[in-house]
């Protein structure tokens, strides 16, 4: 794919997408009111598990912690080996080799890494590009980049666009997820415009948040992003993925997200190829609920590992 070029007329279109907050909230409330029971719940809990990007993004991360994370990613719960593995582990760049070592060469679990001066994104572009290239070189299958929110909020769409396009090129074959950090964008109109910008610039996935800022992945924001993906798909046929990240801790909220995805984008997005949850503690609650469905009663939450 050739690098996307910025056109001011496109930017005008991104910003002409309008969102009404009150009705968006009503739509989300309706998705939350869906009642997911028995077989449907079994199926969707397992699907959600297979969509998790199991994440650790802390200053104190170490090879040991990453090894533990990878073990869990491959087999979330040893008592139930039939459960799916998660989609990916998500780590800082220096942790990528350790993850590669722990997962092995042919692992179905992908390695995602945040790059581009995560979480603020306020490093110069050449350094961001260098960081991305090196991280891919170290074995990352997926790059989670952050946009320059300051540039976006000051109206410099071109700069944001060109950074994304350049980073996409630097990714080579790696999948690019573009983090909008919606908690800093302030309005749903901004989220709508930033989503369209990121998609036009070449994002393979758009992602809500770094997890470092609150609010993170609200469902209202998610709906607006899913709608942007839908528009682009209907106009061009290119299917962009979605990754909410930050604040999704319960199985119930994961199921509500899946309702929103199914009802906005349809069954083709109900797959880890196109939808991910950026989360860590979510896996514990998913396992808790899956075991509840199999055993017929709730186990102690301590039955499931914390990390």
């Amino acid at each position: 794919m050739s690098t996307a070029t910025f056109r001011p007329s496109d930017a005008q279109q991104w910003h002409s997408a309008r969102v009404d907050n009150a009705t968006t909230a009503r739509r989300v409330a309706r998705a939350r009111a869906r009642s997911i029971k028995t077989e449907a719940k079994d199926r969707l809990l397992r699907l959600a598990l297979s969509m998790v990007d199991l994440t650790t993004l802390e200053g104190a991360d170490s090879p040991g912690r990453v090894r533990a994370l990878c073990r869990k990613a491959v087999q979330p719960f040893a008592e139930m080996p039939e459960l799916p593995h998660v989609a990916a582990v998500c780590v800082y760049p220096t942790m990528v080799p350790w993850a590669g070592q722990a997962l092995g060469a042919d692992s179905p679990v992908k390695i995602a890494s945040v790059a581009t001066g995560f979480p603020s994104g306020l490093t110069p572009l050449p350094i961001k590009l260098e960081e991305v290239q090196r991280t891919v070189g170290l074995g990352a299958d997926e790059i989670d980049m952050v946009i320059d929110r300051g540039a976006f909020l000051s109206g410099d769409d071109q700069r944001v666009f060109e950074e994304i396009a350049a980073i996409k090129e630097a990714c080579g074959g790696a999948t690019l997820k573009v983090i909008l950090e919606t908690g800093e964008l302030g309005t749903l109109d901004h989220v709508a415009a930033a989503s369209r910008l990121a998609i036009a610039a070449g994002a393979d996935f758009i992602k809500t948040s770094t997890g470092k800022i609150k609010p993170a992945a609200t469902m209202e924001v998610g709906l607006v992003m899913l709608e942007a993906i839908r528009e682009h798909f209907l106009a061009t046929g290119r299917a962009v993925g979605m990754k909410p990240a930050g604040g999704i801790r319960t199985a119930k909220s994961a199921l509500h997200w899946l309702v929103l995805v199914a009802e906005t984008l349809g069954s083709d997005w109900m797959t880890p190829e196109r939808f991910r949850f950026g989360a860590s503690s979510l896996v514990g609650d998913l396992l808790h609920q899956i075991a509840r469905r199999t055993d017929g009663h709730y186990a102690s939450p301590r039955r499931f590992s914390v990390d």
Partner: protein
């Protein structure tokens, strides 16, 4: 509108979310036989007057209901008069307010039972009875409870007193909510009531009678008589009734208005509608779609203020309809007691036939009929899938007459003036919606509409503090808010 070419990318929405049945399990036994509630007593009614009420979702009999005759209506009016004279009319407002608060709280406590009964009786989804009807019912009692001791401020500078005995005739589309809209202001202002529920939806009113008794409301303050048109006529004609409040069809409204002419009875009428949902090209389109869905498929479109005419700006019409159809393909039609049901059953076989007849008329007059939903329409019961009629014109029957079903007539316009002209081109004037993100246009259009209610970027939004009512053939008088007190007050 434009058919998509097979090569166009399409979303696989239908069937994307298979869900297991999620029935609401709260027990709510249906009595075998319903009589009347007169003078604080539940009375069985006359055996020979019994008729059958059916469950819309199955078409099976639900219960037997007695119809009150003139003599039973007279007993109810007498009980109301006596309660008015002896206790209620002269009771200090603060005291009356306490009863209303108690009723409101008890409704909240028993709301799940009431919601289940309402869904079985009416056919509407439990999602609506649970999340819309019941919360609003309680809210109306709470709101007017607050007015009971503040009536000196209801009409600035005037002293007021209650009117007396109110006869209230309510429809089947929101049985309990319409009872609350009528009862709460009447009671807060010191009137006593004879209430007649619709003959196809008597269940929740009788459970409300139980709640009134639990709240120790003095006997005779609220009386409930069941029955159909004849019972209603007996109530309307009764000389002891001071005021009639009616919600229902424009046709019956005219009959009542004629019958009470010259009688000195006060009247309020909340009648039919043919609401316009005006969508401008600069609207927030996905939310406008949501508003159109709420406007016409809420309660299967059996709503007097339904947005049953969609007016879309011509330049976006085709694209907007595609959006709308995609959303309709995620609506689940079926068992009203399933928590995931979006579209339930129509209330009666008569209503089902009426809606089907209108769809046929539309087709004959040249409309293209499109129907959609996330799952097949049940064969048993009174179901109609969400329906769009495109290619219709202002002259068509389906654009002029109230269908009262999940059927949306789609029209286009080019300029705001044309939108206003088309929206106002109806004998009704109850409710309308305007969708645009441009504030100046929003205000201009909203004020130009001949409509009792205009929602700005919204549809079917209700609040007890906000007055609701129609213009033209949609009726007169307001329910809700401070204006909702006035029909029940005499200036002293």
């Amino acid at each position: 509108m434009n058919q998509q070419k097979p090569s166009d990318p399409t979303l696989k929405l239908r069937g994307a979310l298979p869900l297991a049945p999620a029935p609401e399990r709260c027990p709510a036994p249906v009595p075998e036989r319903l009589g009347h509630f007169i003078g604080g007593e539940v009375v069985p009614g006359r055996d020979e007057s019994l008729f059958t009420s059916y469950e819309p979702a199955t078409g099976e009999p639900l219960c037997q209901v007695a119809a009150a005759d003139a003599e039973e209506v007279d007993r109810a009016v007498t009980a109301a008069r006596s309660a008015f004279d002896r206790v209620w009319g002269g009771m200090p407002g603060a005291e009356r307010g306490k009863y209303l608060y108690r009723i409101a709280r008890r409704i909240q406590e028993r709301s799940r039972e009431l919601a289940v009964l309402e869904s079985r009786d009416n056919g509407k989804p439990i999602r609506e009875t649970r999340d819309v009807d019941l919360p609003l019912v309680a809210a109306h009692f709470f709101y007017y409870a607050g007015w009971a001791d503040k009536l000196d401020y209801a009409i600035p500078g005037q002293r007021v007193r209650p009117v007396g005995v109110a006869g209230q005739i309510i429809p089947w589309n929101f049985p309990l909510l319409m009872a609350a809209w009528k009862l709460a202001p009447a009671l807060a202002t010191g009137n006593t009531v004879v209430l007649k529920p619709a003959e196809t939806t008597p269940l929740t009113a009788m459970m409300l009678a139980e709640i009134l008794a639990e709240a120790e409301l003095p006997p005779g303050v609220v009386n409930i008589v069941n029955g159909a048109g004849a019972t209603g006529a007996a109530l309307v004609d009764h000389p002891g009734v001071d005021k009639i409040a009616f919600t229902g069809s424009t046709e019956v409204g005219r009959i009542i208005t004629r019958a009470t002419a010259g009688s000195g009875k006060r009247l309020t009428m909340e009648l039919g509608g043919k609401g316009a949902n005006i969508v401008f090209a600069d609207a927030a389109l996905d939310q406008a779609v949501e508003g159109v869905i709420d406007g016409i498929f809420f309660n299967q479109g059996q709503v007097c203020c339904a947005g049953s005419r969609l007016l879309i700006e011509e330049g976006i019409a085709a694209a907007f309809l595609d959006r709308l159809k995609r959303r309709i393909e995620t609506l689940r039609i079926g068992d009203p007691l399933d928590k995931n049901t979006d579209v339930g059953a129509l209330n009666s076989v008569e209503q089902l036939q009426r809606v089907q007849r209108y769809i046929e008329i539309g087709r004959r007059q040249g409309a293209a009929v499109w129907q959609g939903s996330a799952c097949p329409t049940p064969e048993q019961g009174y179901f109609v899938a969400p329906t769009l009629l495109t290619g219709v014109q202002q002259t068509d029957t389906v654009v002029r007459e109230e269908i009262f079903g999940p059927v949306l007539s789609v029209l286009t316009f080019r300029t705001p003036d044309e939108a206003i002209r088309k929206a106002n081109d109806t004998e009704y004037g109850l409710a309308a919606s305007v969708w645009t993100e441009k504030a100046s246009k929003l205000f201009e259009v909203a004020h130009a509409l001949n409509s009792g209610v205009v929602w700005a970027n919204g549809a079917n939004l209700f609040d007890p503090a906000s007055p609701f009512g129609g213009m033209r053939h949609s009726g007169f008088g307001r329910e809700g808010g401070i204006a909702g007190l006035w029909p029940y007050l005499e200036i002293q």
